[in-house]
């Protein structure tokens, strides 16, 4: 038994099966991310005045990542075009670039995540807030027993709201220095993980889901670039189709980032 149109287009639809399949899958993905973006809109619109964060993410790193993905979109396209003109060497080169670009993206992303996980907001007993990156904890540091100290590189503010908009001139002027805080003075200490507030929650969820898509796409492209490229010798046309289909997925993932970047980093 053979399934028709696995490689050749069906004349009346002009599509081979997998190409239709991936477009349907992407339609479903649009709805998945659409649901998450509408969640973002509702959460942001429903936030208390002044409590939606601005400028919490590193725009430079975000821009670099955007450029990396944009470049990878180009190399993906060129890799497919190389297959179309039956130039296997060029295909190998361009998709090697795609994989390296994708891995760099993930590297930068993990650095950004790490930066958030060592960034603490500490509510102090006197009602002020210390905010900054963790330098060290003393060996006997224990919040429950109220022993030891913690050192952060940051600053102290009177009102939590001052931590919300980091784009203002005032916020930029804040001097960050090493602060040592006794556990006994700490009411609550929490890092900027997903649990911090609804912004970090939606940021981690959406960028995390996007990163998983990048990872999945990279694995597929790596497979087609490495062990899967054996098919080039037996059935180059089918192989080219595979590159096209995985490329369509990759472009979609890039496109999601094109929306995520301004929504999360720039506003």
């Amino acid at each position: 038994m053979e399934i028709p149109y696995t490689v050749q287009n069906r004349p009346d639809t002009g599509l081979y099966n997998a190409k239709l399949g991936i477009w349907l899958f992407l339609a479903s993905e649009v709805m998945l991310f659409g649901g998450l973006f509408s969640a973002y809109v509702l959460l942001r619109a429903g936030a208390e005045p002044g409590m939606w964060p601005h400028g919490w993410l590193n725009v430079t790193l975000g821009t670099v990542n955007t450029l990396l993905l944009a470049l990878s979109a180009i190399t993906t396209l060129l890799a497919w075009a190389a297959c179309k003109v039956r130039d296997f060497g060029k295909f190998k080169f361009f998709h090697a670039c795609t994989i390296l670009l994708a891995l760099s993206f993930l590297g930068i992303k993990s650095y950004e995540y790490h930066d958030k996980f060592i960034h603490y907001e500490i509510a102090l007993a006197d009602g002020t807030f210390a905010d900054g990156h963790l330098k060290e904890k003393s060996a006997d540091f224990d919040l429950k027993k109220k022993t030891g100290t913690v050192t952060i590189e940051g600053h102290i503010v009177e009102d939590r709201k001052e931590l919300m908009d980091l784009r203002t001139e005032e916020a930029k002027k804040a001097v960050h220095k090493e602060i040592e805080i006794k556990a006994a003075d700490i009411k609550k200490m929490q890092n900027y993980g997903p649990w911090h507030n609804t912004f970090t929650a939606i940021y981690f969820t959406m960028s995390g889901l996007h990163a998983l898509h990048i990872l999945g796409g990279t694995l597929v492209i790596f497979y087609l670039w490495g062990p899967g490229s054996k098919m080039w010798k037996t059935d180059p046309e089918r192989f080219t189709n595979r590159i096209e289909v995985s490329g369509l997925f990759w472009h979609f993932v890039d496109l999601v980032w094109i929306f995520l970047f301004p929504v999360m980093y720039l506003t």
Binding site: M1, Q8, S28, L32, T198, A201
Partner: protein, 624 residues
């Protein structure tokens, strides 16, 4: 063999491999595991889905029986099953009594299992998988291995759901709708299991939906134009689109709720949320309404996922047994497309009670009234198809005929619920329960029974026993109505759903003299409903025995015992791997019964030119 058995020439010899990925299937008989468990054949997968879904339906039914016992006799140990419950579920069923928490768990899981593990897999995945490729003349689904993965994801999702009963704290208890913040604050990990299970089920339905749509678009046999598709295929096509596009937002919502439950985020938790008198640790700032929007964005289209395939089954059986074409085929096609489209813009009619505002409520009232138009067109076409037919009565036809008024009752009682003013009173009462169960239980499930009786001869080459089929029908029909009809009365009298005591605390007996309490006559109905539910359970015994007995001992029939026109009845029985010995070519519409200019009472949709001309590749689509 009987004389009406259609003869097929011997199978085409397997062609030499073309470098495609058929890893030598043709050279050896596959073993048990690859034939029944890891099969990529759409027919085996359809049967896998069918049996699993029927088992889940039975399980969901038992959950309901236990709940009905608790409602009729609150606080009394469950007879027979009580000790077993106490043993397996521990403190939640201490002494064999269903605690309020356990009642909630049963309620949530009854809904979840019936919808996501019972009806949808049976209506869409089982019948769709088995019948759609046969009807359109395809050798299999477009992506057979993805099809297999779809079943495995479904099975795994079911296992996760079942396991959640036995964890400490028990299964999810926030209703099948899992409203936040309730779903996050109930102290059980059952909700996390529920969410993981749902993600698996959504994955399964995504893989299935992609496969169905691609198959219907790409693998129609030559001559199978869109307007020659049997209407069943249209119904499945629209259903697949609904699953493809409506489920992902629930997946998004599921991920967010899982984050709330596992990582302490506050997507759906408002600021200052206090649980058990204490303000929680969560950051707050979330929106409980957001969950409801995301849930019902799936939840309402899901209703049409439950009903459209059932309507498709009924349409096929009615056309076949009235021995004349469906009335208004084109209207049916455009109606089902309209239903599919409109189903995406009615979801907030489940949320009138949330105070979302008059303007939005008005919008959703209008769209809700609009969607009833194509639904009524479908039902009217099916009714009119009966007109002037010389109707053949058999078990599938009885179930299909009963579907029409039953679904009619379910649909018409929905109209008051679509209008905010009436809904405010009826919301969350037993009236709602009666309404949607009339759509799904005597509606969809009757249609599915009809489908099982109708396609059983295709799957096995034998008919199910007609006498016991009719016993099954009449008992189910009577008891089904005795179960659900009284609930309308209870709901109108103000009995609220999801009460583990069946309304005792609001009864006139408990609080004499208070206004608007539930009178004794309404409370008494609980006992009657329990009796009817037990009767309904007993009525399924002939069906269960019939289905297993007939596999081996049913009356042997030919390939086309119902004298049907559609292509599924013009393959060998049971169809071999690859379905069609020759490439079928479609020459006419799907319902040419007693058409002028044809001998006999029906004209098959397809011809097999290769059989007459004797060379195999004639009409074979190019794929090399």
């Amino acid at each position: 063999m009987q004389s009406n058995v259609q003869q097929f020439p011997p199978f085409r010899e397997p062609q030499p491999a073309h470098g495609h990925d058929d890893h030598g299937h043709e050279h050896h008989e596959p073993g048990f595991w690859s034939k029944y468990i890891f099969s990529s054949d759409h027919k085996v997968i359809g049967i896998q889905y069918g049996f699993t879904a029927l088992a889940f339906l039975l399980f969901g039914f038992f959950l309901m029986l236990l709940m009905r016992w608790q409602i009729a006799h609150p606080g009394q140990p469950v007879p027979f099953l009580g000790p077993l419950l106490a043993k397996t579920l521990g403190p939640m069923a201490a002494g064999g009594v269903i605690s309020a928490d356990l009642y909630n768990a049963f309620g949530a899981m009854h809904g979840t299992i019936m919808v996501f593990l019972g009806v949808v897999p049976l209506a869409f995945a089982a019948f769709g998988n088995y019948v759609v490729p046969l009807m359109i003349g395809a050798p299999d689904m477009t992506f057979p291995r993805i099809n297999m993965a779809s079943y495995h994801a479904f099975f795994l999702g079911g296992v996760v759901m079942l396991v959640s009963f036995f964890i400490p704290g028990g299964a999810a208890q926030a209703g099948w709708t899992s409203y936040s913040p309730l779903a996050t604050t109930i102290p059980t990990n059952g909700q996390a299991f529920w969410l993981v299970g749902m993600v698996l089920l959504i994955t399964s339905s995504l893989l299935g939906a992609v496969n169905f749509i691609a198959t219907i678009i790409q693998l129609r046999a030559p001559g199978m134009t869109w307007m020659r598709l049997p209407w069943f295929v249209w119904a499945q096509f629209v259903t697949a689109f609904i699953l493809l596009l409506a489920f992902p937002p629930l997946e998004a919502a599921g991920v967010l709720q899982l984050m709330d439950n596992a990582l302490g985020t506050s997507f759906f938790l408002p600021t200052g949320l206090a649980v058990a008198g204490k303000v929680g640790e969560a950051s707050g700032g979330g929106s409980p309404l957001l969950w409801q929007h995301l849930f019902w964005f799936l939840g309402h289209p899901e209703v049409y996922v439950l009903i459209l395939p059932a309507m498709g089954v009924v349409a096929e059986i009615i056309a076949n047994n009235t021995r004349k074409p469906l009335w208004g085929y084109k209207s049916l096609v455009y109606a089902v497309l309209s239903v599919g489209f409109l189903s995406f813009i009615v979801w907030a009619h489940h949320m009138y009670m949330t105070g979302m505002g008059q303007k939005i409520a008005t919008f959703f009232q209008i769209t809700t009234m609009m969607i009833s138009v194509p639904s009524v067109i479908i039902l009217t076409c099916l009714f009119l198809s009966l007109w002037g037919g010389s109707i053949r009565i058999n078990t599938p036809m009885l179930f299909a005929l009963a579907f029409l008024p039953m679904f009619g009752i379910g649909g018409l009682t929905g109209l008051p619920l679509g209008l905010a003013a009436a809904d405010l009173y009826l919301h969350d009462t037993y009236y709602i329960i009666a309404h949607f169960h009339y759509v799904v239980a005597p509606g969809t499930i009757f249609a599915l029974f009809a489908g099982v009786y109708f396609w059983f001869p295709k799957m096995t080459g034998r008919k199910m026993n007609e006498f016991w089929g009719r016993v099954h029908f009449w008992c189910s029909f009577v008891f089904m109505n005795l179960v659900f009809m009284p609930m309308f009365a209870q709901g109108i009298k103000g009995m609220i759903r999801r009460m583990s005591d069946g309304g005792v605390n609001y009864s006139a007996a408990r609080v004499p003299g208070a206004i608007d309490t539930l009178p004794g006559s309404v409370m008494e109905l609980n006992t009657w409903i329990l009796a009817a539910a037990i009767g309904l359970g007993l009525a399924q015994i002939p069906f269960i025995i019939n289905i297993f007995w007939s596999i081996k001992h049913g009356e042997k029939v030919g390939t086309n015992p119902w004298e049907a026109t559609t292509l599924d009845w013009h393959t060998p029985t049971p169809p071999p791997h690859g379905n069609f010995p020759q490439q079928p070519v479609i020459v006419r519409g799907p319902y040419e019964y007693n058409a002028p200019g044809h001998e006999g009472s029906y004209a098959p949709q397809a011809e097999f030119p290769a059989a007459t001309h004797g060379h195999d590749d004639h009409g074979q689509p190019a794929h090399h």
